[in-house]
Symmetry: C2
Subunit: 538 residues, 2 copies
């Protein structure tokens, strides 16, 4: 980060850093006494924790001195109509509390959002940055533009000099080694792999669970995602399998082996500090479905997406695709890092604050079949001529792919198949976009629904309730939007619309009463006579 | 109204009258040129319209000069968190526009709310006043206290001197006549009738329709009622049948005959002005189910409820129970007053702004079977020992009565019968209160549901959607509340609750994360081993 941008962060301090900390101890804590420093030259914003257990203990005690605010209440009350929707005050304060080496990370990270993402992103959480693109643009192209690709970060964004960059391969490999970017890009050492892969956050469509049944407030806020926490890119780099081979292969191959990834970002959980750490099973690496990528759609990775190097685990929850990779660690079992052990767990619907334990949730790795309607939007009032055009995405993880997409205009009783011509290309690891002209005769409020079948005949749960879970993950139930249908092929409707047009009064929204009377007295009386009056004859 | 209270209205002007009118004409309209005056001495706030067709025409033209604001948008956005919830700005302005004789009516009416109703009423609409009592008090007694009885007014509240009060009986009776209060109370002329009757507004529980499917914005705002637009009182007065007999009986008895009631309040519809007017069929009068009442639970009618005399039509929608009665008019067919002809219509679910006509809706007279859960409330998080206590009301109109009430803890699959001991007394025309200790084993979000069966085996539609209608009337579907169940008879739950208690940290709301870790590492690893690890063995 240059001095110039540091200056800008100073300006931003008062706006977004919320540096005022309510301190519980009588003596104000002195963050500089911690002596925290960036780990390496050229790795701005990178603090190493996992190599220094004593430091972690010290920080745990130190953090107890602060009275950080509770999780914001946005589940039992309506969401704020702001963008960013949520600010991440607590996480900004965690960083601020650590002193000079960390305090500017939230503000600096926000500058990358402004620089690298579309200006009209929906900022679900300002820090750590979580954002999704506007719905119409998400399904405009089957390969998502880099600036529109959703971001779900778990900490700040480090700025790493590629020339100074390397990662270490450690643990149960025969020859642990340090690999530089230059080596990795050397095609005489490593063949290139380039694959179209959809990455999806398990929080996609969480807002539906929140609306119906609020859940875990979480340390890092269960962000209220819409349908846009998903994106597709062509990722280019080297298969992790080749890198492990380059390190002499596994010491003790077994089905239990996991490959752990550590990132340069800082993660907090229950008052403790960590580097981001997750893992994927060796089986997944073995079939070349774990990529170390430096290119996203033919361009260098944006900083916000993990520059200079990130992991891409095909068909898995996005959380495993570690950014700003610092270490690869082959271990006997899944990572004990909190993101792997304590987060992204899928609980039975009777689990909640009163009885949740990490072991009782299963770990979300492969993503299930799901889909979403991106147009029309929920609560839209659609004037049409007997057909409503619907558009959206459909996806299945774990190497499965969408083979059929179906839409319903009646809440899920009658299903229409999306014509195969209207489905985008098939990939083993990517979504398919779809559109359909859904025949709709009925007027009034209708529930438009979509569901996808994947090649293993998996389809989606019926209702949000069917798959509600305490941590509000994987809202993969049939996606439903309510629309008010106004069918212009019906004479009475056509006449009424014409009348509004003639008067120059907008017809929508439907909740605004029109100025004209609905029926004149003469016609009313004639109609009532035809109907035999209001009451029986005798 | 005394000078004293008029003074107070002046103070209130700026707070609640919103007298600023955007005027479309170049010349500001002069309301005093209309020369409107109160109709009768001792009848403060009573303007007569129906006897003066020329005046009505004049007002229609005059009202066109104003650019009154549109209906407030509260259906497609969340309701304001204020009490009053809605203000009724347009209706205040309509009155203001009419000049001196009408401009203070909104402020004066509000003084009656403050004087006659409980201070903690939920003011759904400030003017015309619409309000309901807090939920717990509504089901505290099977006879509703006068100050807690809901109010759904359609205009301002006149203040009528009982000594000066009379009403006229006109139309198809053999001897039209004027009857004073003194005559009506003369037991040598009219025998008394005293009956326990539930009055219900067809808007009860409208908020559920609004939440799921917004509808007609309406002239007078389809107020966002909860479950409290219902109340029960012992009404005392004279059967209308006796009064008609006193007037020589019907001129031309026929099944089609209706008896029209006119009130002293002013009603607006589509830019025209009216006196409140509705009707009930002669058949209903004939069986002594239409009462002219001056007593409510042994006390004189409160002003806000129609003092000195109102109609009470048993088992019908409250709208027919005309307040501040000025005239009774026997007519050949239902009233053509806008409240009867153009309001309180029940449409097919495909009818909306694009095709609604008055004749295509049927008129709401008899109220159907319905019920509501008044405790627990929607979104409550209930800590219990295997049983959740539910309380509420059940009602059926048209002379039917609740014979069975059933509750479900699983969204309506398994139903428990409310023990007959827990149902309040049976009346032909009143609700029954109920309570049940519902056996609940499950934890997490549950849908508690209630339904009622009446003596004709009618029961309620299943979902809000089953009976959605454009004017958002009669939300009589099975009432559902979502509660998060925390069952303390389960050891894991009991232990967690104890832990919170010991730490002195409140357990609720569930969306606030606890500070403690969910599971220690040792127990996690032991559990995972018992479960055979995260991944398959081979």
């Amino acid at each position: 980060m240059t001095n110039g941008s540091l200056k800008k962060t100073t300006v931003l301090d008062t706006e977004i850093l919320h540096p005022s900390l309510a301190i519980r101890t009588k003596e104000p804590p002195n963050p500089e006494a911690l002596g925290l420093q960036e780990e390496l030259p050229g790795w701005h914003g990178y603090l190493e924790w996992e190599k220094y257990p004593e430091r972690k203990k010290e920080i745990k005690e130190y953090m107890k001195k602060f009275d950080f605010p509770g999780a914001p209440e946005f589940q039992l009350v309506p969401l704020p109509k702001t963008n960013p929707i949520l600010e991440g005050v607590r996480w900004k304060q965690y960083h601020y509390a650590l002193g000079k080496a960390a305090r500017d990370i939230p503000a600096e990270s926000w500058l990358f959002v402004e620089k690298e993402k579309s200006p009209d992103m929906i900022h679900v959480l300002q820090f750590p940055y979580n954002g999704e693109p506007p719905r119409d643009r998400l399904v405009a192209t089957s390969i998502t533009r880099n600036e529109d690709h959703f971001v779900r970060n778990h900490g700040g964004i480090p700025e790493i000099d590629e020339e100074k960059y390397f990662f270490d391969v450690e643990g149960l490999v025969n020859n642990p080694r340090r690999i530089t970017m230059r080596e990795l890009k050397d095609e005489t050492l490593f063949p290139r792999q380039s694959t179209v892969v959809t990455i999806q956050c398990s929080g996609t469509r969480r807002i539906e669970q929140i609306h119906e049944y609020p859940g875990d407030g979480d340390e890092l806020i269960n962000a209220p995602w819409g349908e846009g926490a998903i994106g597709t890119a062509r990722w280019t780099g080297v298969s992790l399998k080749k890198v492990i081979k380059y390190c002499g292969g596994l010491k003790d191959p077994s089905a239990a082996n996991h490959v752990e990834f550590l990132g340069a970002d800082t993660y907090f959980k229950k008052g403790e500090v960590y580097n981001y750490a997750v893992s994927a099973p060796w089986r997944k690496v073995k079939i070349n479905e774990v990529l170390l990528a430096w290119e996203m759609n033919g361009k260098p990775l944006p900083k916000i997406h993990g520059f200079p190097l990130r992991v891409v685990v095909f068909g898995y929850i996005g959380a495993r695709s570690c950014k700003w990779l610092t270490r690869i660690n082959v271990i006997a079992n899944p990572s004990m890092g909190p993101v792997q052990q304590k987060e992204y767990l899928y609980y039975n619907s009777q689990v909640g604050k009163q009885n949740a334990s990490y072991s009782s949730g299963f770990s979300i790795q492969d993503m299930p079949v799901s889909s979403a309607i991106m147009s029309p939007l929920d609560m839209d009032q659609v004037i049409h001529d007997g057909k409503i055009k619907m558009r959206g995405w459909a996806y299945s993880g774990g190497g499965h792919w969408p083979v059929r997409v179906e839409a319903s205009g009646d809440g899920g009783s009658v299903w229409y198949e999306v014509p195969y011509q209207n489905l985008s290309e098939k990939y083993f690891h990517a979504w398919r976009l779809w559109e359909i002209e859904l025949p709709v005769d009925a007027e009034g409020w209708l529930e438009l629904v979509v569901r996808c079948w994947d090649n293993a005949l998996n389809t989606q749960p019926t209702y949000v309730r069917s798959a509600w879970n305490w941590d509000l993950h994987v809202t993969s139930s049939c996606h439903r939007v309510k629309v008010f249908s106004i069918n212009r092929t019906r004479p009475k409707t056509a006449a009424k619309l014409k009348m509004f047009e003639k008067m120059g009064v907008p017809f929508l929204p439907i909740t605004q009463p029109g100025e004209m009377d609905l029926e004149d007295e003469e016609s009313y009386l004639r109609e009532m006579e035809a109907r035999g009056g209001r009451d029986p004859v005798e």
